[in-house]
Symmetry: C2
Subunit: 566 residues, 2 copies
């Protein structure tokens, strides 16, 4: 399946007039070639993803602190819009655990804010996409992503322990939550605990079954293949199976008047109304919310971008941003809260062999049907079973090997990881901000203090092992002064500029001063291995006494003949 | 004179136990060697600088919108403190035009705020110095400095035109100031205009005389040498001469009851009281003022650092920061407003042949004597003469060749210049902030989008012309996908890593994905010219299918033998 999008894109780029249109509406590149086999595969994949989406959407609404129907309200718009505007066949937009956690931390369970947040996020994302600002996301590094997802997974997962225990009124802040959850274990409801742990056990075993499943070879008898297909199917739609089973158990106890389980309870019925979000509520905390949105937006998109490369093709960052932005804007008209690409459901989509984004339409229809007809049934879903669904969904994100890997590969990268991880526990939305600032500072520090190797070949040869941008001039000056100019007698220096790809005016200005100091002391500074583009800038800078050679050897020969030549 | 500080420093570093002490108290490195010849030179230089300091301090207080005595209050503490803690023999701390302009824009002419500002700035600077954060100043680039000084010089210079015209109640904002100054020219006072223009003409001709002055050779007769010395001396202390002459003229008219000139008027008498600054006023705008201080601090220090390298030795940024910080903290106890190193007076100090920072003590004593005994005389100083002093002091800073030079050397550097220049006119303190942000963004963009040259030698050879940090991975991926993986058939790639000096975990992680994609398509990605340190990180990253060679040629030989080898 992998080369598909690639080849479609190629074909798209072959005709120049359609190219722009196709890059804005990727649907145009695959719809003309749509065929019956693709439809078949898309139907199966869409159905499977739909059956995963419904229980997850209900569960994530709980994470966001919203009534369960808001999860479904948010789950269908993305399916239709991504079908037209998305560049990847696998990605599924909808409510996710991390986004729900972020929303919860912002809006204090008020659906009106959640919907408004969706509109604002969408507008910012669409604007960024149109202004081609997607490259800003390149500044979120791998350690920051890992630190954030680990912390979020732990926060979200632990946040559901209270539902497994059937506890109510636990504060939201992580530390307090841990404290009160353990403190109030004696109040746990037996029914919830038993049901929750059973659901967890079932989900874990189904996941394991799928992992260990060996594909049958063609020579196996048919019943083996059918059995394999059945196990694989059950394991894939395990979320909905577990929730249905738990609901049936809860229903049978409820109708016999035994209230052992905490249930979802009454929900709004039917489809959400189509109406613009309520803008009047912005006034209270106008400016502050904008900054928070930007944080949200970046989080939303990085979750989408991470790991999609594993599916074998590159997605167009700006176009994806645009698709998510539009989904959030349109979503706010149907009472959705902010959505993004879901790791888990995208993986399911890919594994069931989806061929085009049209699979999303099937998923969207299933969500709409659930909203239209199944809401009364959702009354009986036990909260403990949804908690089990969430815990199993986020557990793989808490990647405990990540810090070990960072330690092994490059210890310094543990710093942004730890900052992101720890700050996320304090205030989840600032984790990424903190991490990005730390890794940005590390980049800039590295730029300001490049490694300069000094060799003594009679004259000093200084090797700059990376570029020479303006923040590095002070450091270069300091090394040259301390090693060549502030010693007696002053020494000649050959500066090996082999690795320098560009210089700026600050560098030129400092070099002018430096050359003057060398002249005053009757010694020489020779540049070797300058690239043409760099040499042009230096010549334009009109540096008196500029000397340059092609290689260090030539420079050494000239200088060794006459170490005090002028 | 130049090698002096250098050789002193060497001697200082020779004894290891004293080194730390001497680096905190640089006075210890020169005081033991103090001699009569140095004393003689320092006395002359200190006296000359003192005679420049007094009129400038009075004038700059006017720029800051404070009563004139505050200029003198701010001018002596730095002389004594720098003598003990400073690392350069030439630098003179005291009120400067730019700092006065910055202060004026913050505190709206209230001396209490000015003194408090001095304390806060000093504390931040001292803290930065102790935490070794001086390297942050490396991020202020030459175009930003130039843009800021040009804008500040124009703002300050034009701000004095109203005093030449004898106009009052002109608004402070630059655009309004220009409008109202021209609008109200008909109200100009003839006496002020004539006196101001005369002072300006005198100052300009004395400056020219000094520039064109040819040093007498030893064979010239004594009277030539004396005449030369006299002209040189008059030109050097031209500020005080002009102010004295103007005051004499004003005094003679005043006592004959002809009030033609706007005078400085009544000032406080005597030395300032020694008392802590008034902290109670902070409460009102607590948080906002802190950000502003940081801006002020950076401005203060960059003015100090720029161009001192011309004096032939490097100063220790952190130690200088500490000296300025301490000056500002102690200054706030004697009602000083924030000070920094003065370009002009430092140049005078250097030209008169100062030997050690002890020259500053003489300057400080002169300021104190003026405060103690001369205040009643200052009543008669015409404001127009002070305006002329300021205009002549700031004129050289408005370097109109700077943008031309940037255009010639590297056109892109005009962007931070123009941003700084224009923002400075709008709000002077945000000019530098804007410029630093723009040049920082340019650096980061350059880092995120390195130049990748692609050559086709049967297999693709990609040359990375600078380092490979995490923001660049997305771009590298995009180039590799579009040129090698999303084409049919997929192609082998040799990545020339010759210029890469370090990689981080994000890069390793992305390369892992990339290698997987190459394997899936049965083509190869070969790294050539890896440095040992980089190779170690890649090996620690445990990349399956990592292939590397020493040179591109070897890589090409291997790949051309078998373009689909595994």
């Amino acid at each position: 399946m992998e080369p598909l999008v690639g080849s479609l894109r190629e074909r798209a780029t072959s005709s120049c007039s359609c190219r722009t249109l196709q890059s804005w509406f990727p649907v145009l590149s695959w719809l003309p070639h749509y065929n019956l086999r693709w439809l078949q595969m898309d139907l199966v994949a869409g159905l499977t993803v739909g059956l995963t989406t419904v229980p997850q959407a209900l569960a994530y609404a709980e994470v966001a602190g919203l009534p369960v129907q808001y999860g479904l309200y948010s789950a269908f718009m993305g399916c239709f819009i991504y079908c037209v505007f998305g560049t990847s066949k696998d990605v599924t937009l909808g409510p996710t655990a991390i986004m729900s956690l972020l929303c919860a931390s912002y809006m204090g369970s008020d659906p009106v804010y959640a919907v408004l947040l969706s509109f604002l996020c969408g507008s910012i994302q669409a604007a960024m996409a149109i202004l081609r600002l997607g490259f800003l996301l390149d500044f979120i590094s791998y350690p920051v992503i890992k630190g954030f997802t680990c912390a979020a997974a732990i926060t979200i997962g632990f946040g559901q322990v209270k539902n497994i225990f059937g506890l109510k009124n636990i504060p939201q802040q992580f530390v307090l939550q841990v404290y009160y959850t353990f403190h109030r274990i004696p109040e746990a409801r037996l029914g919830d605990v038993v049901l929750g742990l059973s659901c967890l056990a079932l989900l874990v075993s189904l996941t394991w079954m799928k992992t260990d499943l060996v594909s049958p070879s063609p020579e196996h008898p048919t019943y083996v293949k059918v059995a394999h297909g059945l196990v694989w199917g059950c394991a894939t739609i395990r979320n909905v199976l577990v929730v249905i089973m738990a609901s049936c158990v809860a229903f049978s106890f409820e109708i016999s008047n035994h209230h052992y389980f905490t249930l979802t309870g009454q929900t709004a019925k039917g489809l959400p109304p189509f109406k613009p979000p309520a803008f009047s509520e912005t006034k209270a905390n106008g400016t502050i919310i904008y900054f928070k949105e930007i944080v949200l937006v970046s989080t939303q998109v990085f979750t989408l971008l991470t790991k999609w490369s594993q599916n074998g093709y590159r997605i167009d960052t700006n176009q994806e941003l645009f698709a998510i932005g539009l989904t959030n804007i349109m979503g706010s008209f149907v009472s959705a809260y902010p959505v993004t690409g879901s790791f888990g459901r995208t993986a399911v989509n890919s594994q069931t062999g989806v061929c085009t984004p049209a699979g999303g339409v099937v998923t969207g229809v299933i969500v709409l049907l659930s909203l239209a007809f199944l809401m009364p049934v959702f009354y009986y879903i036990p909260k403990a079973s949804l908690a089990a669904v969430i815990i199993c969904a986020v557990a793989p994100m808490a990647d405990w090997r990540a810090p070990l890997q960072l330690w092994r590969v490059r210890k310094l990268d543990l710093l942004p990881f730890m900052v992101t991880f720890l700050v996320s526990f304090w205030e989840v939305q600032y984790g990424i901000v903190g991490g990005v600032l730390v890794s940005g500072a590390m980049l800039l520090y590295h730029m300001a203090r490049p490694h300069i190797e000094v060799h003594d070949h009679g004259v000093l040869v200084m090797d700059l092992d990376s570029g020479l941008n303006f923040p590095a001039t002070e450091h270069l000056n300091q090394v040259i002064y301390s090693q060549a100019l502030h010693v007696s007698p002053p020494r000649c220096v050959v500066l090996n500029c082999h690795h320098i790809s560009s210089v700026d005016c600050t560098v030129v200005h400092e070099l002018k001063d430096l050359l003057k100091q060398f002249r005053l002391r009757n010694v020489s500074l020779v540049f070797s291995g300058l690239k043409n583009s760099v040499l042009e800038v230096l010549l334009a800078g009109d540096l008196p006494g500029l000397k340059y050679t092609d290689s260090i050897e030539t420079a050494l020969q000239i200088l060794s003949g006459n170490t005090h030549f002028d």
